[in-house]
Symmetry: C2
């Protein structure tokens, strides 16, 4: 499958590399056409990997991942272009974190969320929020943890969510996917990230996740 990967950070690289390993064609998009990080990544990953602008990557992908910084996601998606996102599944992994404060805060929360903002701004995209509640190494390899843990999906488009649940299971190995409901449930998973940061400090590691136990 052709995947558009928006964002050249560690999340985009990690998911992108996993998708290339699985045999998919991945174009990594960034603000500049020739982003050095994207070029290096594409060279390393070989013939199934390429790079371009946000618009190039969004146009290329049958499915598009948003792995940009949450605080810059709306602008990046504007550059990607609504027409390049229309009718496509847009997997939003971003957290709207403001890193400028001593204790990181969210740029949107409580009465709104980045997931909702993206869906409102791009009503023809089929937005599914997922994977934002763990480190990227866990995202693509949940089996490395000592127990089964959970990943969440939020979105208004039932079919898009079903496809994303299959992707999470079949491509990344998630055995347990919790469908929280419509895109407004992005609020909870984005606000969870504040606790996630405290848990990272507590555990001195990025390699953990939560499991819901009943």
């Amino acid at each position: 499958m052709r995947i558009g990967m928006l964002g050249t950070g560690i999340v985009g690289q990690t998911i992108g590399s996993r998708l290339v390993q699985l045999g998919h064609e991945v174009m990594m998009g960034s603000r500049a056409e020739a982003n050095p990080t994207a070029i290096t990544w594409a060279r390393k990953e070989g013939r199934h990997a390429s790079f371009g602008t946000f618009a190039n990557a969004a146009a290329f992908g049958e499915i598009v991942f948003n792995c940009t910084l949450g605080s810059a996601s709306l602008e990046a998606l504007q550059q990607a272009g609504a027409h390049n996102l229309a009718n496509k599944i847009l997997i939003d992994t971003a957290n709207p974190l403001d890193y400028s404060t001593p204790i990181w805060t969210l740029t949107v929360c409580n009465t709104d969320s980045l997931g909702e903002q993206i869906q409102r701004t791009f009503p023809d995209a089929r937005v599914v929020k997922t994977l934002n509640t763990m480190n990227c190494n866990v995202m693509v390899d949940p089996g490395k943890l000592s127990q089964r843990t959970d990943v969440f999906v939020s979105g208004d488009d039932i079919e898009a969510k079903a496809t994303v649940i299959s992707i999470l299971r079949d491509w990344f190995g998630w055995q347990s996917v919790i469908d929280l409901g419509d895109i407004s449930t992005s609020r909870g998973v984005e606000m969870f990230v504040v606790l996630w940061q405290d848990l990272r400090t507590w555990s001195s590691s990025h390699r953990f996740n939560i499991r819901v136990v009943s």
Copy 2:
């Protein structure tokens, strides 16, 4: 031990009853001196249970639990009186939820938290935020779940936290208590409650909790 229980709701009743079962003396405090719920509860629980105003209960307790509605906690604690809380461990279990909106929101979050507000307003109280991330039946009986799960503590007073960790372990049966850090980490656990609500809808039950898996 003498415990002041602020709040007559299901959380105050459940924790209060557990403490009475354990042999402690519990006074349930409320706005009115003769709150019908508190009277009924105290009659049911017998000679170790009593009731009074917030100020009566806070004065009575060697340790004080805040189990009021989060949106009303500061006012309740003002009625309890700073002098009645001074130098005492104040276990804050409340969540600052606004139930008036279709999707519940928090009255404070992101750049502040109820836990921090309480500690700032009552600097002589030894505030420990805990138990706000699960239903009250799980709070006092975590062993009912199918696996060990986690409870969090946040607070500036190291000795107070150590005492609360012992209380959680010895009185309620929590085998795993995660010390998140100072009182500012109340933000994360309070903001988690939005995801908790979505999980409650998903699971159609209050009886669950999370476990951190590495």
